[in-house]
């Protein structure tokens, strides 16, 4: 097919795949064939659009009609009304794009209005399995420019001047990293690696980039290899990302076929090839030295630095390691110049950042905003606020290495330095929103459980220290904590921060320290009053029936899995506190709001 009058883009990211986009795609193909439209209408499966909460998502161009939550049953209507007769099916459009019966552009909706897409610019626009579509939107042009017009030092100078900082969380200046790797002599080989071992619970930025625009990462790695004089690269990605792995492999194969990977690229002396290495999903393998140890085929454990990877990395050769999102910015910086990039974002944090919005928020999904956007803009405007009219309590950034930001700091402009100042960190970009029903002690406990689980065990502060911290937190949530426990917790946290071997251990206490800092009253309520204000910690809550409200219908008693509720029909029931396991099943069933949690 050369030219189609309409293009139907179906999101094929992991979010929409789990809400059933494959069935929708198949139904479209069947319906188009039935109506004889398959030659006029082009179907494209793309990467993530960002609005995962509304999946499966379908966009029809040239109208730009944004259909959300499309079911296979809806497809026939879209095909016969919109694609055959040209009448947009307003009923199925994303509510916000419909105004006075006309279709509003997606870019004008609250979700997209404040976003700026650099790393995600092709996600949801091109077919990630077709290299030609990437090329059509200036793909591999940056690589061509670098190889034919620029010296390696000039490439590094542009990256340095752009102010790009590592998007994996640390925020180390990318240009400096490239410079250090370039300075190391190439005795028998150097390597360029990509960290796609996205391990923070709730984060899926890197996965979405690889699923939606894999060639951007390949192109950037080739540029990096040219800049530091390397010939071989590895992408380390977790095996739990099957769609990303598949598309990446397709992309590498296509690039090889076109000679964009391999020997003498663009007829120059430069040669570069790439391989995928699958990780088994250990959190610690996102740490750079552990990642390289894992690529070497050994157990993924970190080692002390220095020597830094730029000097002695993979197989003891100089190695450059960047994160997926960092790479995704590179081709755009080369094409548009360092000045363009520094004009976006804040003075010390240039460019944009992708966040995975999750938790108690209406628009769960993927957003990319300029640095310096406030948390309030992300949560209230782009994220659409908190569901069910609840109040915002805190946002957790940076996953298990980050901290909680309280409502009082909602107006802080987000960049690397401001987040560290308030005791959190950028991290890779997970952003979990919490409302008044979340207990902050419980949240700290959740993240500690994660780090205890994922600690590799090599160094003592992390292996034993995090376990001790978790034990104290468990005591507190069970109502057995003392005020000394809080002091001990804090002291232990600072000690671990200073003495752990790698980033995992050094940042593991952050969730505790930040919640202690901003929500100490909640800790004290658990310790002194033996109460959990949010009603989450089971040991500290009790369920009881308000006699005045109870109609004696026995619904709760029949629901109770341990027969803890008893009473006579039409007279108030009671809960036996010794038997009650606090599962909450009764409260969900009661039609008279007669059961309360204290």
């Amino acid at each position: 097919m050369d030219f189609a009058r309409s293009t139907v883009l179906v999101c094929g990211g992991t979010g929409c795949t789990s809400s059933g986009c494959q069935k929708v795609m198949k139904e479209f193909e069947a319906q188009l064939a039935a109506k004889g439209l398959e030659k006029e209408v082009k179907m494209v499966q793309t990467g993530c659009f960002g609005l995962c909460a509304l999946g499966p998502v379908v966009i029809v161009y040239p109208e730009g009609a944004f259909y959300s939550m499309v079911k296979p049953e809806d497809v026939e209507e879209i095909v016969s009304e919109h694609l055959l007769k040209g009448r947009v099916v307003t009923r199925l459009l994303y509510d916000e794009t419909v105004q006075d019966d006309t279709v509003k552009s997606l870019n004008e909706t609250n979700f997209y209005k404040k976003q700026m897409r650099i790393a995600l610019r092709n996600c949801g626009v091109i077919d990630p399995e077709n290299i030609d579509e990437y090329i059509a939107l200036d793909g591999y042009k940056a690589l061509g420019k670098v190889l034919t017009e620029m010296k390696p030092e000039e490439v590094i100078d542009v990256i340095k001047a752009s102010g790009l900082r590592g998007r994996g969380g640390g925020g180390f200046p990318t240009g400096i990293k490239w410079m250090l790797a370039a300075k190391s002599p190439n005795v028998i080989g150097k390597y360029v690696c990509c960290n796609a071992d996205e391990g923070d619970p709730g984060a899926f930025m890197d996965r979405s980039v690889l699923e939606g625009d894999p060639h951007a990462v390949i192109e950037a790695m080739a540029i990096a290899a040219y800049a530091i004089n390397a010939e071989q690269g590895y992408i380390y990605i977790r095996a739990e990302y099957p769609i990303a792995v598949k598309r990446l492999q397709i992309a590498i194969d296509q690039a090889r076929e076109y000679g964009l990977l391999g020997k003498n690229i663009f007829g120059t002396d430069f040669s570069f090839d790439l391989g995928i290495r699958l990780g088994a999903g250990a959190f610690v393998c996102g740490e750079e030295t552990a990642l390289m140890t894992s690529i070497e085929g050994m157990r993924g454990e970190p080692r002390p630095r220095p020597p830094f990877p730029a000097v002695k990395g993979l197989w003891e050769k100089p190695t450059l390691l960047n994160n997926v999102e960092t790479y995704a910015n590179i081709p755009q910086i080369i094409l548009n110049g360092a000045e363009w990039f520094t004009s976006i974002g804040t003075e010390k944090s240039a460019g944009t950042k992708v966040f995975a919005l999750g938790g108690k928020i209406n628009n769960t999904g993927l957003v990319e905003v300029p640095m310096g956007t406030t948390l309030r803009e992300i949560v209230e405007e782009i994220g659409g606020g908190i569901p069910n009219g609840k109040k915002f309590k805190a946002a957790q950034t940076g996953g298990p290495s980050g901290g909680c930001i309280p409502a009082s700091l909602l107006d802080v402009a987000i960049d690397y330095d401001s987040l560290i100042q308030i005791g959190s960190m950028m991290g890779s970009g997970g952003l979990i929103v919490m409302d008044e029903d979340n207990c902050m002690v419980d949240i700290a406990k959740f993240f500690l459980e994660f780090t205890v689980d994922e600690s590799c065990g090599k160094c003592t502060p992390c292996r034993i220290g995090t376990k001790r911290m978790l034990e104290i937190l468990e005591r507190i949530t069970q109502g057995k904590g003392t005020l000394e426990d809080l002091d001990k917790l804090e002291e232990l946290a600072y000690n671990i921060k200073e003495s752990a071997l790698c980033g995992l251990g050094q940042t593991a206490p952050n969730p505790i320290l930040s919640t202690l800092r901003y929500f100490r009253d909640e800790y004290e309520a658990h310790v002194i009053d033996k109460k959990c204000p949010a009603g989450v910690c089971k040991a500290l809550v009790s369920y009881s029936i308000v006699a005045d409200k109870c109609k004696g219908c026995s619904l709760c008693a029949r629901q109770c899995p341990v027969n803890a509720i008893s009473g006579e029909i039409k007279s108030p029931f009671v809960i036996d506190q010794d038997k009650c396991i606090k599962c909450g099943a009764c409260i969900e069933k009661c039609k008279f709001d007669a059961i309360i949690v204290q």
Partner: protein, 124 residues
Amino acid sequence: MKSLAELEAIKNRMKNQVGMRKDDDTNTTRIVVGMATCGIAAGARPVLNALVEEVGKRNLAHVTVAQTGCIGMCKFEPIIEVMAPGKEKVTYIKMTPEKAIKVISEHIVNGRVCNEFTIGAEQE
């Protein structure tokens, strides 16, 4: 890939296919075909196909072809409308595939409105 020219060639070949996937309409000329029951009955589908084919053949990146419902003058169907940025809308009536191709070559490419096919010509 041995040269930048090869890359450029792929880009040009593909430009048309991805060109419509953006929202800014500032530079785009829209050709709209009336595809309600009346239009389809009068033969709008071959007209639409001819337009799509011709736009593709000539590699016109800034032109989109879309359908619309009943324009309201069923006796003049098939009707197409050309909306170029910054210009008045031109309505062509009683289209055939041959006339449609002429509209592309004369109006869209060379900027000369085909007066003989417009609704104004019919009413005089």
